[in-house]
Symmetry: C2
Subunit: 464 residues, 2 copies
């Protein structure tokens, strides 16, 4: 029988004993193709939500699946202790898998392989975010098995639209604020600093996503009959895309840098100490020249500086062979990563004005908005942060880095604004996990020691 006084070591030993079964459960979740951006996979998203609710139920949570306008939420509670309360957040949806031909195994048929001397689980979502969220579930499972309950009050929230813009999340948080509010939020969707060094993120870039479509002629034209005289929307779009960056790598949209802040001196100083090899970071992906703002380090370019990226472009004939068409339309998906006090809507409007000023008078342009979130800075102090740092240091025998992240995790801003909570961003992914790309993986060590890390963190939180 579970013994509520069992030592922390007993819980950790249970994690170690049961790691194979923990991997099997993660595999079961990875086999569900819960791609949130593609409507055809809505049923798979529902299946992943149901699967998670069942797991939570088994572990003593009061758990259910909550419908939204989009993919459902999973909420579970295990409360009633005279102890601090935490809200754990993860997302069960995953990115599309194209191009499928580059995968070494089927993306939804997980396999363990060795890569660079470490065993890893290869599958879409292995790292982002199914592997990460399962570290927390499996930590709860160890407590349940050894002690019968958790050391603190826990609410979990699993979202199914994180990769698709989180349209339902704001309304859902508004409706459930009283139910979800806790002393601290725990978000597990980030990287370790490196394979040896755990990390808590206190700074996140924001994001504005835009889709821009240029229409020229009212139909596709034959370039033999119209080529020369007819406006080519691919040419117009390319001219616009080319105009977005200055030769020095900076973004050319007027006012873009107005609300950008510089790193605090003490953070800049800590970053000098942290192990980070910008050249190696780029050479790992086959590149050698930082492409961002001249005079900024690679670490600054990817975390503390804003950027503009073209995430997709399409127009005309793109199949096999050749078609001498002048298309009617061309479109691009463009995103801006934001820092400091950059206002997403102000950046969006500045971008749209930049584009409109470059569209010839007989072409038209339409815009579609794909989400907006400001950058977030989390206060780097407080009891929960201190305890979490101590727990991570115990597990990894290395002082945890207090870091920034180049990616956006809009939930952190939502938790602050809607629920009044700070968040601790603690994750065990590695920078080479290839999230959003073919052959995504999650190191077995990330999974195993991630579970152990949460066991230790919850134990330390009980001391607060």
């Amino acid at each position: 029988m579970a013994d509520p006084t069992s030592s922390l070591d007993a819980v950790l030993a249970h994690v170690d004993d049961q790691i194979d079964a923990s991997v099997e459960r993660l595999f079961a979740l990875l086999r569900i193709a819960s791609i949130s951006t593609e409507p055809a996979y809505a049923g798979e998203c529902r299946k992943a939500a149901d699967w998670l609710a069942r797991e939570l139920d088994e572990l003593g949570f009061d758990a259910d699946v909550r419908a939204t306008e989009g993919h459902p939420m999973v909420v579970g509670h295990q409360k009633g202790k005279d102890a601090p309360s935490v809200l754990f957040y993860g997302h069960y949806d995953v990115q599309p898998v194209d191009p499928l031909s580059l995968w070494e195994n089927e993306p939804f048929d997980p396999k363990i392989r060795e890569e660079n001397g470490r065993n890893a689980i290869f599958a879409r979502g292995a790292s982002d975010d199914k592997g990460q969220l399962m570290t927390f579930i499996e930590a709860c499972r160890a407590y349940k098995a050894v002690r019968g309950s958790l050391p603190v009050n826990v609410t979990v929230l699993f979202e199914g639209e994180e990769e698709a813009g989180s349209a339902s999340l704001g309304p859902f948080l508004d409706a459930t604020a009283d139910e979800l509010k806790a002393d601290i939020a725990l978000v597990c969707d980030t990287d370790m600093w490196d394979t040896e060094t755990p990390s808590i993120i206190t700074m996140l870039r924001g994001l504005v996503g835009e889709e821009v479509e240029i229409t020229a002629a009212n139909r596709d034209l034959h370039s033999g009959m119209y080529g020369g005289a007819a406006r080519n929307p691919i040419q117009v779009l390319s001219d616009i895309v080319a105009s977005l960056r200055n030769p020095d790598g900076s973004v050319a949209v007027a006012g873009f840098y107005d609300d950008v802040t510089e790193l605090p001196a003490h953070v800049a100083e800590q970053w000098q100490r942290l192990p980070f090899d910008g050249a190696a970071y780029l050479s790992d992906v086959g590149l050698s020249m930082p492409a961002g703002e001249r005079g900024r380090s690679v670490l600054e370019q990817i975390t503390s500086r804003p950027t503009c990226e073209i995430n997709g472009i399409t127009g005309g004939y793109t199949g096999d062979g050749f078609k001498t068409v002048i298309p009617s339309k061309a479109s691009a998906k463009i995103s801006f990563r934001l820092v400091g006090n950059q206002d997403p809507e102000k950046i969006r409007e500045a971008f749209r004005a930049h584009v409109r000023a470059r569209v010839p008078s007989d072409c038209s342009v339409t815009f579609a908005s794909h989400g907006a979130s400001p950058a977030t800075t989390i206060p780097a102090d407080g009891a929960f942060l201190t305890k979490a740092l101590a727990a991570l240091t115990d597990e990894w025998n290395r002082e945890a880095a207090i870091a920034g992240s180049g990616g956006s995790i809009p939930i952190v801003g939502d938790f602050k604004r809607k629920l009044g909570m700070d968040s601790l961003l603690i994750g065990f992914a590695q920078t080479d996990d290839r999230i959003h790309s073919p052959n995504e993986k999650y190191n077995l060590e990330s999974y195993h020691r991630g579970i152990r890390s949460w066991v230790r963190i919850l134990d330390k939180f009980a001391e607060i």
Copy 2:
């Protein structure tokens, strides 16, 4: 019984009597989805070739289907007369049909509808080139029915790879030069000047097709993790595409205009007389500003001046929703229309040098060639041209224009180089036929009077 002395009027009357059956036969050919650029439709191409060979056989031709490395050729002969010999050329392959959603009827289920007060046949290939080649077959059918034979010696050649680069045509012409050679080639793949005015084309632009692919990182990257520091190949490609045109609309590739010749003065003078409304030509497709070289008329921009067009571009995520990816690769299909003495291979190399000079050192570029043909100028005199002009004038009661065409018809250069023959380019398509686009059509009048025009042309040729 057929009477070899029957008057021209009797043959024309037969055309008129049988027009409904002629339309039915064209419909049968249009129902075959002979898309040559898509390997999945190879069987349909074969089916179209077989169908044509059977039709020719019925009309007394010694006809057969000849295998090539690609789609087959159809060759038919009806010879033995003490009369001039002609080689008639057409192509039975058609362009892809995407985007299918914009078609008002299924592209391979032809329908007759009224548009702008004229009845027309709507289907992929109705105009380019099945409707056009069938005008000649049906003219032959009328002669066969009324007189039992043709007034001149006729060879027909139908190709199945015109829309796919005509890879097999050169070797085939080399191998069959003696068999195919005639006094004159007749090519039916061009437009009338307008709905009232027939036209014989004496000037054709050439074409160079290129596909360029830029590779940056060795895999797709997450823009949160790499955005800012990692080179974005869509940005690189857009910068390159933007660099291809000068602000005055001219092509910015070094040396591009070196071998361009100006129109002969008497042709330029004739073009001033011909009815052509550049503003209406553009407004018909929803445009208002000529996009080509400043200071050149729309007619010059589309026929006598060279151009560069982006026919397709793709990179990154282009599905529904949004994906914050920095792709590994981006690619574009780019073509140049050539005039005068521009050398396709010289233009290709100048383009590639232009691109290479703009690719950052840690990106790579690959090129694929999609065909090359120089511009062609056909001597605007000679007995066949004179007779054809007279025949067209008789049929249309309007002097035929001697015109240029903005599109490439490489066969004309091949006939000249390999078979030593000049070509007369006579077609009955209209500029609003939407060839290569959704809702392609061929006016019923084009079909009916096109058949009558060939009856008259062959009759006049017999006088030579």
